[in-house]
C-alpha cells in the first residue's frame, strides 16, 4: 500500500453468539487533524463496498450513515445478524444499483464499528480513548471520508447520499468538497441542528450520565456499561424517529397482560408500545457504545452550515457545481420539511442546480429507511438523470 497505509486491518468485534469477526478497514498512518486542533493518528476507517469501480473511476457513490448506523448498508451486519440497514435501497437492480455503481459506505469517525472512535486505542496512551476522545464535528467526519476516497484513488465521487445525520454529511461534502461530488442527495435532514433536536440529544445524554454504571465515562475500566441510561436514550430517540400516526397504527392502546406484578409490568400490565421501546433500548445497548453516542450526538449539535457566514446559508454553496436533490418526508417532525425548504431556498440563492421533493408518508423520520415507492422512484430517477449528465454509460460497472 502507498503511504505506508495498511489495508485489511483487523479490528475485532464480538458478534452474535460470541463469535469474533473483523471489519474490512484501512489504517492511515498520517491520521487526521481535527477542527478542534487535536489530531488522531493513525486513523482507521472501516468500510464496505459493493459493485465494481469503473476503469474511469467515475461511478462511485458514497453513502453516509445516520447517527447509529454503520457501514453494513447492504449486507448482513456481523454484530447483530440483521440485514443491511438500507438493503432495500442498495443492491443489484435496486434504486442505488450496484450493477451500475460502485457503492462505498464507511463507519463514521467517532463510531464504534471499526472506525477510530472512543472505543479505539489511543496511540499516545496505549489505552482506549473512552471519554477522552476529542470533540469531532461533521466536517471532521467528512474529512475522514475524503481520506478514504483518496486512499481508494477516486478523484470525484459520482454521488454522495445520506439520510438524517447522513444528510448532514452529504451537505458537508457539497459545502466543503463540491468539486469532488457530481451529485448529492441530502435526505430527511437539515442544514443546521435545531434547538428542538439539540434538546432531545441533551435528554439522551443526561439519561446516560444519570446511570450509576456511567462512572464518568470510564465504565469500561469497571467492566460495566451504562446500559439503562443508553437504553433510555435510545427509547426516547426512537419516538422522535416515528410519528403519532405510525405509533397509533402499529400499537394503538393494546396492552399485554402478565400474572406477575414486576418492574416490567406496571400494575400487571404493559402497553405494547412500552414493550416495543424497551426492546429497542435493550438491543441497542448491545451494539452501541455510550461514549460514541455522546461524541456523535455532540457533532450533530454543532452542525450549522451558516455558522461561519453570519447566518447566510447560501454562502457555503456559492459556485457549487453539484447537482443536488433534497428529499423530505411529510410526517417527519425531527427534520421537518420546513428545514429542507430553508435549505432549498439557500441553494437557489446560491444558483445551485437543485431538485426538491417532499414525499407523502405518515411514518415519520424513519420513512427514508422504509418501503416508500415514490422515494425509490425519486432516488432512481435522480441518479439516472445525473448519470446521463455525468456521461456515465448505462450498465457500467
Amino acid at each position: 500500500m502507498s503511504n505506508g497505509n495498511n489495508e485489511n486491518g483487523a479490528t475485532a468485534s464480538v458478534g452474535q453468539g460470541g463469535s469474533l469477526f473483523t471489519h474490512k478497514m484501512v489504517r492511515l498512518e498520517n491520521g487526521l487533524s481535527l477542527e478542534c486542533g487535536e489530531s488522531i493518528a493513525p486513523l482507521e476507517i472501516a468500510y464496505c463496498t459493493y459493485g465494481n469501480l469503473s476503469s474511469a473511476r467515475d461511478n462511485a457513490i458514497f453513502i453516509c450513515h445516520a447517527l447509529t448506523g454503520d457501514q453494513y448498508v447492504a449486507e448482513q451486519n456481523p454484530l447483530t445478524g440483521k440485514p443491511g440497514w438500507w438493503a432495500r435501497m442498495v443492491g443489484p437492480g435496486k434504486p442505488i444499483d450496484t450493477d451500475r455503481f460502485f457503492v462505498i459506505c464507511s463507519n463514521v469517525l467517532g463510531g464504534c464499528l471499526g472506525t477510530t472512535g472512543p472505543t479505539s486505542v489511543c496511540a499516545e496512551t496505549g489505552t482506549a480513548w473512552d471519554c477522552d476522545f476529542p470533540q469531532i464535528t461533521m466536517k471532521d467526519i467528512v474529512a475522514a471520508q475524503v481520506k478514504l476516497i483518496d486512499h481508494l484513488e477516486i478523484g470525484r465521487l459520482f454521488a454522495v447520499i445520506g439520510g438524517s445525520m447522513g444528510g448532514m454529511q452529504a451537505l458537508t461534502w457539497i459545502a466543503h468538497h463540491s468539486e469532488r461530488v457530481f451529485a448529492a442527495m441530502p435526505i430527511a435532514t437539515s442544514p443546521y441542528h435545531s434547538a428542538q433536536n439539540i434538546a432531545f440529544n441533551e435528554v439522551s445524554r443526561q439519561a446516560i450520565f444519570a446511570d450509576p454504571e456511567w462512572h464518568k465515562g470510564r465504565y469500561r475500566d469497571y467492566g460495566a456499561i451504562p446500559a439503562r441510561g443508553l437504553g433510555v436514550a435510545r427509547m426516547m430517540a426512537h419516538i422522535t424517529y416515528l410519528s403519532e400516526e405510525a405509533l397509533n397504527r402499529k400499537f394503538g392502546r393494546r396492552v399485554r397482560q402478565s400474572g406477575l406484578s414486576s418492574d416490567a409490568f406496571l400494575f400487571g400490565e404493559m402497553f405494547e408500545v412500552e414493550s416495543y421501546l424497551r426492546h429497542q433500548g435493550s438491543t441497542f445497548v448491545r451494539r452501541f457504545d455510550a461514549n460514541s453516542y455522546l461524541t456523535i450526538t455532540r457533532a450533530m449539535d454543532y452542525f450549522d452550515l451558516s455558522a461561519d457566514h453570519d447566518g447566510d446559508l447560501s454562502v457555503p454553496f456559492q459556485k457549487c457545481p453539484t447537482r443536488i436533490c433534497v428529499v423530505s418526508f411529510s410526517s417527519d417532525w425531527l427534520f421537518p420539511t420546513t428545514q429542507s425548504r430553508t435549505l432549498v431556498r439557500a441553494l437557489s440563492r446560491a444558483g445551485a442546480n437543485v431538485s426538491f421533493v417532499e414525499i407523502e408518508s405518515d411514518r415519520g423520520h424513519d420513512a427514508f429507511l422504509l418501503d416508500e415507492p415514490d422515494f425509490d422512484r425519486t432516488v432512481r430517477g435522480f441518479l439516472d438523470g445525473a448519470a446521463e449528465h455525468a456521461g456515465l454509460r448505462r450498465g457500467q460497472g
Binding site: 447537482r323 436533490c325 432549498v344 431556498r345 439557500a346 437557489s348 440563492r349 444558483g351 442546480n353 437543485v354 431538485s355 426538491f356 421533493v357 417532499e358 414525499i359 407523502e360 415514490d374 422512484r377 425519486t378 432512481r380 430517477g381 435522480f382 439516472d384 438523470g385 445525473a386 446521463e388
Partner: protein, 199 residues
Amino acid sequence: MRVDQQLIAEMITPGSRVLDVGSGDGTLIDYLYRTRKCDARGIELDMQSVTQSVAHGLPVVHGDADHDLAHYPDDTFDFVVLQRTLQAVERPQEVLRQMLRIGRHAIVSFPNFGYWRLRLQLLTTGRMPMTPVWSTPWHQTPNIHPCTIRDFVALCEEENYTIRQWLAIDEDGAKAPWRRSVRWANLFGEQALFLLSRQ
C-alpha cells in the same frame, strides 16, 4: 408536447439557462435539455408532478411563483417561463417583476379573457363564462386574476417591459394570424404568448 409549448421552445436560444415556473410534468424542460442543450430547471406546485419530474431525472423544486422566485439572485437565467399560470398567482405584477429580475427574458402564456366566446357568453347569459379553457365555476376557479391581451399589454407598458414578440393562439394552440393588431387578437385569440425583456 403541446403546440404552445413548441412555440415557447422556439423563442428560447439554444444553450441558455431556463427556469420553467409551473413546469408540470417537466415536458418543456426535458425538451429544452434534449433538443436545445439548455440548462433547464423547473418549479412546480403539484407534488405529484414534482416527484414524477425528479423521477425522470429533471431538476425540479417544489414551490410556487408567488413565494419562490424571490430566492434566486438577479440574472440567474436567460429565460424565465410562466405557462398558463399568470392568471392563477396571488400577485401577477410582482411575479412578472421577479421573472424579469432573475431572468433577462420572460416568456408568459395566459388564457385571454377578451376572447369573443367569453364576451358573448357574458353578454347573452349574464353569467360567468364557461369554456374548455375556463372550465371551473367562479367560486372554485384557481384563476383569480384573469386578464385580456390588451390588459397585459397595458401592464407591460406601465412596467416599462419591452415586448419582443407576441402571438395569439387559437383553441388548438396553433398560431393565430392576428399578429398586427392587438385588438383583433384580443377578440379572436383564445390564448396569448409574450416574450418580454427589461428595457
